[in-house]
Symmetry: C2
């Protein structure tokens, strides 16, 4: 048990990815909670390059970056729990990795930009970017799921986890800032997927509930507004 | 042969990664040269999300993003040529992937920033970021190479290819802009590695020579200077 540790907090979608993977794999671990805005000595020592969560520690060796960690877990515990997270087919694996890259590179930064936007125009532009991204992912979902429940078909696979860690964030941004990001009319397949993902047993075990996410998002939103005001002055 | 195609140009370090991998694996392919500043119909159709090279096309199915492509090639041709590019050990694989992420996320953007810097201060700051990054990679090299020639030990592995695609760029930036980025005194192990990488047969087969890289860098440098001047006016 003490051989598998995770530094982080489930409020970080990047940490949540790792927690969902460990939950799917039924791998036991110790969660070393990291408080927002503080950086523990262990974190600084374990991730001196980025000083960021999540850090996964296995046999006292730290591994950083959520995508790297999830692939590592999949390789070390290939048969455990749900079995492999990465699809068996190399082309599908490539698509799961590509869309994960897209989510990290474009989609989540645009989601954050909605919360940080200082003007109505900036907010509208960021909303449009997220909606356009969801349309792309809607197409990818139709291709990859082959009419089944998840990106991985009948079961959760890599892209489900890597994108799914954001579903409650998307929901809270929608409600708190009165925008539509993942609506049933425009993205029906993805809308249904998000609901199924949220209800998956391995996800429910570790995903913070919407109230908790909302409180944290309100806190971030107020912090960003203060930062923007300070930057102006 | 026609079943394996690569859209790109060896002048792009990201395309070069794929070409070095294919060279190491002795996989035959058709290079569909993409001219700088133009985007072919095939490129736009094959990578509608990023509209960027490289795109790898296997059995008419496009795969985008260099890291995704290289992993795909390694999975589809595991035994071909040099054998596996990713190390056999899961922890080493994680480190190779982490440092590749760092190179793409921080190091190469800082290298470009040297060329784009509009002020001496901006240039000096970018040089410092690259030098600091090389120091981190020097440590990683010492750990991963275990006293041998490459990040992969006796032979080229994933991180050799993913970082090595930049060695001639580093050299040209150093000479053309009179800066020191990868000097023997500060980063002796990496300095030696870069020379060995450049001389590796599979690399020499595909890497553009320094004169060609220099000409292209001069062209980019002039273009960036013009862009900066236009932005000012």
């Amino acid at each position: 048990m003490a051989d598998v540790k995770l530094i982080g907090s489930p409020l970080s979608p990047y940490v949540l990815r790792v927690m969902i993977t460990l939950s799917l794999k039924k791998v036991e671990y110790e969660l070393l909670q990291e408080k927002f805005g503080e950086k523990s000595e262990l974190l600084l020592k374990s991730n001196p390059v980025y000083k960021k969560i999540p850090v996964f520690i296995h046999h006292d060796r730290p591994i950083c970056e959520s995508a790297v960690i999830v692939e590592y877990i999949d390789e070390v515990w290939p048969e455990s729990g749900c079995g492999a997270i990465l699809p068996a087919d190399a082309y599908h694996r490539a698509l799961h990795r590509f869309w994960t890259f897209y989510v990290d590179d474009k989609l989540f930064p645009s989601l954050v930009a909605i919360g940080r936007a200082a003007t109505a125009e900036g907010k509208a532009e960021a909303v449009e970017r997220v909606r356009a991204g969801h349309l792309l992912l809607e197409e990818a979902f139709v291709e990859l799921s082959e009419g089944k429940a998840f990106f991985g078909g009948d079961r959760l696979a890599y892209l489900d986890v890597m994108f799914g860690c954001f579903v409650n964030w998307i929901k809270e941004v929608e409600e708190f800032l009165s925008v539509e990001l993942l609506d049933e009319a425009t993205t029906p397949a993805l809308h249904g997927w998000a609901a199924r993902f949220r209800e998956h047993e391995a996800v429910k075990e570790v995903m913070p509930d919407r109230g908790t996410v909302l409180e944290f998002f309100k806190f971030l939103h107020a912090m960003w507004a203060k930062e923007a005001a300070d930057a102006k002055n």
